[in-house]
């Protein structure tokens, strides 16, 4: 049997992912995590000196803490299997990526294992975040100096 013929056979045999069900699950869990995030930021606004604008930072830190606990007990993996992007896109997903890599490579020692692999999964997020921020800010700076746009 030829390669193309086989690839055709494979296309028909492989089931398509359940798009609607997956998106619905991601929407629900993602929304739930953001609602929890809103509750956490409200908590910081009321009990600490954070305004709506500055409450984001402690909220993100707290969500990452929750992610560590859930990851450590192996629960985040189950949420991830159910929710997919619903658990990966929020900052808890970023936390899970870092914490799971750290836990995983603890057996190789703190320096080479944890240190060397901490950002194995989440490093790309930091890289593309910083690089895209740099170019966007650069473009905006140029546009402003030309006078096309104002700050």
């Amino acid at each position: 049997m030829e390669k193309e013929q086989y690839q055709q056979l494979e296309q028909n045999a492989t089931p398509k992912p359940p798009y609607f069900k997956n998106v619905a699950k991601a929407f629900l869990v993602g929304g739930l995590i953001c609602t929890i995030g809103q509750a956490v930021s409200l908590f910081y606004i009321i009990f600490f000196d954070f305004t709506e604008a500055t409450a984001g930072n402690p909220t993100v830190a707290t969500m990452v803490f929750f992610a560590m606990i859930l990851t450590g007990f192996g629960l985040y993996k189950k949420i991830g299997q159910f929710a997919g992007a619903g658990s990966a896109v929020p900052v808890t997903g970023f936390g899970n990526a870092v914490v799971s890599a750290a836990i995983e490579h603890r057996s190789e020692g703190l320096v080479l294992g944890v240190g060397g692999n901490l950002f194995k999964l989440a490093g790309s997020v930091v890289l593309f975040g910083v690089v895209s921020a740099f170019f966007v800010a650069l473009i905006k700076f140029i546009l402003v100096t030309i006078g096309v746009v104002s700050w």
């Binding site: 450590g72 992007a85 896109v89 970023f94 870092v98 790309s124 593309f128």
Partner: protein, 121 residues
């Protein structure tokens, strides 16, 4: 204030739904999806669209990873406004540092406390 909860749920849900579509339909790995969303967050902030979204949806916009790209860009632009071109670099982590520092610290603590646990049940 209660309405913000509803908006946070919907906006957060929609961003995650977009991420899920990128993964299922676009056949991207989680790494590619998150990177795409971060870049999208940065571009949206460049166009000044992300700050209104945060005002509107609160945590619905600050919790998803797009807010990481947004706050990096926001810091860079703000600093560029004050100090010119070099500000683009120096201002990068001006606004957001808690995401990464929390992840690193809790990653380390997690590594000390927990062991990798496969599915055994």
């Amino acid at each position: 204030m209660a309405m913000t909860f509803v908006f946070a749920f919907f906006v957060g849900g929609i961003i995650c739904a977009i991420g899920q579509l990128l993964m299922d339909y676009g056949k991207l790995t989680p790494g590619h999806t998150l990177s795409t969303l971060v870049v999208a967050g940065a571009i949206l902030d460049g166009m000044g669209l992300y700050e209104p979204l945060i005002n509107f949806a609160g945590a619905g916009a600050t919790v998803p990873i797009t807010s990481f790209g947004n706050s990096l860009t926001h810091g860079a632009i703000a600093e560029a406004e004050r100090h010119g071109l070099v500000g683009v670099l120096t201002g990068m982590f001006e606004v957001t540092s808690s995401g990464i520092s929390a992840a690193v610290v809790f990653g380390f603590i997690g590594a000390l406390i927990f062991k990798p646990k496969g599915n055994v049940d």
